[in-house]
């Protein structure tokens, strides 16, 4: 292994040690901790609701759920402001919510309603909210890389302090788009953060069977940027890793590749027969590695939030999602006369 790899690994263990320590935990304000939990719960309940309604036949199209990966979008986006950009994936509801999109309009979009973020033209796979810098989910795996790099180029040319983040899966790191984008971002030192959500499966194919490296972060070496591995189901670790990368980018230090190791609790899409893994594997992950359960255990253990506080947060979220659902269900579909709207400016 190269030196870069050693640096990556040592960075990682350093952050793990730090995160386990009381000293650094004290740096997480109560407000931020509450935000972590609330956002992760929002995504989880949003996704569970979408899954249920999809199976009931209320939602058309395809749906790819973010369940089990909530800590990544939440931890990364907690470092961003509205003027920062993110480019997302087909599994994009979590990113949309974490970047601050309106839950009602997000839900309405997934229903294909006129009141949706994209007026019902995009749906689950093409959800976007430009008002909060969310440059869109993408129906093409690996489609977001170069859009994010372009946004980073614009930021750099406009001499802004913002950053551009692209979320992608381990499968997408095998697309040529990743390699062209990584090279360009590093060659031009653009403020881009590549966040790999390594959920162990590229669609239905286990990571190890189709990817040349165990760690996607190792690929950073080839592009002259730092590569960092982080436990993607530990929101504190994700937040810290993203913070460092975002700060580097904001200060002209160029791009970073963060590999967040996680696990896709649900199938590739809702309805996936999941012939490629055992229930045991999934259940084990859900019991022991679910980012929300892990947060809750840690929160209680380290007195970050009380059980009562967490219950109150969950109750608040339940209401929000209920309202979002009601809004979506009661909203009208677009009229057929709107077919050609927004094709050209």
């Amino acid at each position: 292994m190269t030196n870069w790899h050693e640096i990556c690994i040592s960075n990682m263990s350093k952050s793990v040690i730090i995160q386990g320590g009381v000293a650094v935990l004290a740096e997480f304000s109560k407000e931020l901790i509450t935000y972590f939990y609330k956002t992760m719960c929002r995504i989880r309940l949003f996704e569970e609701t979408v899954e249920k309604l999809f199976l009931e036949g209320q939602i058309p199209g395809f749906v790819h759920l973010y369940i089990g990966e909530e800590a990544i979008a939440t931890g990364v986006c907690a470092n961003l402001t509205k003027s920062d950009y993110i480019a997302s994936t087909h599994r994009g509801h979590g990113h949309t919510i974490a970047k601050g999109a309106d839950l009602k309009r997000a839900m309405a979009e997934i229903f294909g309603k006129k009141t949706g973020l994209c007026k019902g033209k995009g749906g689950s796979m093409h959800i976007a909210d430009f008002s909060v810098g969310m440059l869109g989910a993408n129906g093409v795996v690996g489609g977001g890389f170069n859009l994010a790099v372009g946004a980073g180029l614009a930021i750099s040319m406009q001499k802004r302090k913002d950053v551009s983040v692209v979320f992608f899966g381990d499968g997408a790191s095998n697309r040529g788009t990743f390699h062209e984008a990584a090279n360009l971002a590093a060659a031009w030192k653009l403020p881009v953060i590549f966040v790999c959500e390594n959920n162990q499966y590229a669609s239905t194919t286990p990571h190890g069977t189709q990817t040349s490296v165990e760690n996607i972060a190792d690929r950073a070496v080839g592009y002259g940027m730092p590569g960092v591995i982080v436990d993607g189901n530990d929101i504190f670790a994700v937040y810290e890793a993203a913070k460092e990368a975002v700060e580097r980018a904001r200060n002209g230090g160029g791009p970073t590749l963060i590999e967040a190791k996680t696990y896709r609790i649900k199938g590739h899409f809702v309805g996936d027969p999941e012939l490629y893994r055992t229930r045991e594997e999934v259940n084990n992950q859900f019991e022991n590695n679910d980012p929300i359960k892990r947060f809750e255990r840690k929160a209680l253990q380290e007195n970050l939030l009380t059980k009562k506080e967490m219950e109150a947060i969950k109750e608040e979220v339940r209401k929000e999602i209920e309202e979002a659902l009601e809004f979506a269900q009661n909203s009208p579909y677009p009229h057929k006369d709107e077919l050609f709207d927004d094709l050209y400016v």
Binding site: Y85, G122, H126, G139, N146, L147, A151, A154, S164, L343
Partner: protein, 323 residues
């Protein structure tokens, strides 16, 4: 009016638009330090710097993807494709990202990207450096496609493309770069979507664009000696094409000929012929004639390439037989 080349006309358009709007920048392979392989970017970095005139890696996917991303973040990028043939490399960025982002996101954003694509047969460059592929993009909603045939249009259409808030693909023929022609100085815009009736006539409508306009004009000239008064239309914009001008002309002349350098099968001519057949077949006094390349890749060997090319004599002969 002063005369400049087609390449100089595009350069003038770029410089004027970059002076007018600091959001406009250009990136591509070999454009800054070399000035473009056809000299069409010469001098731009000296005036605007290497930040706004960017040499990119040989990464067409990144060029178009980043152009789209930069447009979403408030810039107005011009992306050069080196050769139109290389658009295949970044096809997803062109047709799934650039073309669709505005529509599928419900009009939340604009995508003011200009893709410059040098096309056509030149210097015996063979199968992968000689193609005319405008018809691919005519099939994709969300993109505009233009193809100037002379220096004045080269300037006017490029300025219009840069100012357009939609993605525009600008096909510029490589042989035309050196062509001289009168070009208005300063502000000169050729509106996108409007064809140009180059020569009025009453007997037959000849529609063409880009380099093939040479054949259209030449054929009309020869036919005039036979007493056939051809109306010649320079389409200028491939998508959205000017249906009104076409209909008006065909209703007047009752005969339609379409000429382009691109492969005839599935070409722009096929679309126009179908459009006229659907909407004005009763006006036609003869079957529609289409001229384009044979259904084969561009061959290298000179005699083979010559056989591949459009032939004015053949065009004239076939048009004569319409009467």
């Amino acid at each position: 009016m002063r005369e400049i080349t087609f390449a100089q006309a595009t350069l003038e358009a770029m410089a004027e638009e970059m002076r007018r709007d600091e959001r406009v920048f250009v990136m591509g392979e070999d454009i800054a330090r070399q000035g473009g392989i056809f000299g069409q970017f010469k001098g731009l970095p000296q005036e605007f710097g290497f930040d706004r005139v960017r040499d990119t890696p040989i990464s067409e996917t990144a060029i178009i993807g980043a152009a789209v991303g930069a447009a979403l973040a408030g810039m107005r990028p011009v992306a050069d494709m080196h050769f139109a043939d290389f658009m295949g490399v970044c096809m997803d960025e062109l047709f799934n990202q650039m073309a669709k982002i505005r529509y599928m996101f419900g009009g939340q954003c604009k995508v003011p990207v200009v893709v410059r694509a040098p096309d056509g047969l030149a210097n015996r460059a063979a199968a992968q450096h000689s193609q005319s592929i405008e018809s691919w993009f005519m099939h994709i909603p969300g993109i505009k496609v233009v193809a100037p045939s002379n220096p004045a249009d080269a300037k006017g259409l490029l300025k219009a493309a840069i100012r357009d808030d939609n993605p525009v693909i600008y096909f510029e023929n490589k042989i035309l770069y050196r062509e001289l022609g009168p070009v208005p100085e300063g502000e000169y815009i050729v509106p996108i979507g409007k064809a140009n009736v180059v020569k009025e006539g009453k007997d037959v409508t000849i529609i063409s664009y880009s380099i093939a306009m040479k054949h259209a004009n030449k054929a009309a000239e020869i036919l005039a000696k036979d007493g056939i008064d051809a109306e010649v239309i320079d389409l200028r914009t491939i998508s959205p094409y000017d249906k009104d001008t076409i209909m008006e002309s065909v209703k007047k002349t009752h005969r339609l000929v379409i000429i382009h350098e691109a492969v005839k099968q599935g070409g722009v001519g096929a679309e126009i012929a179908a459009f006229v057949a659907e909407n004005a077949i009763d006006y036609l006094d003869a079957p529609i004639l289409r001229f384009g390349a044979p259904f084969v890749p561009v061959p290298f060997s000179p005699p083979l390439e010559d056989a591949y090319k459009l032939n004015t004599d053949e065009i004239v002969e076939k048009i004569r037989r319409m009467f």
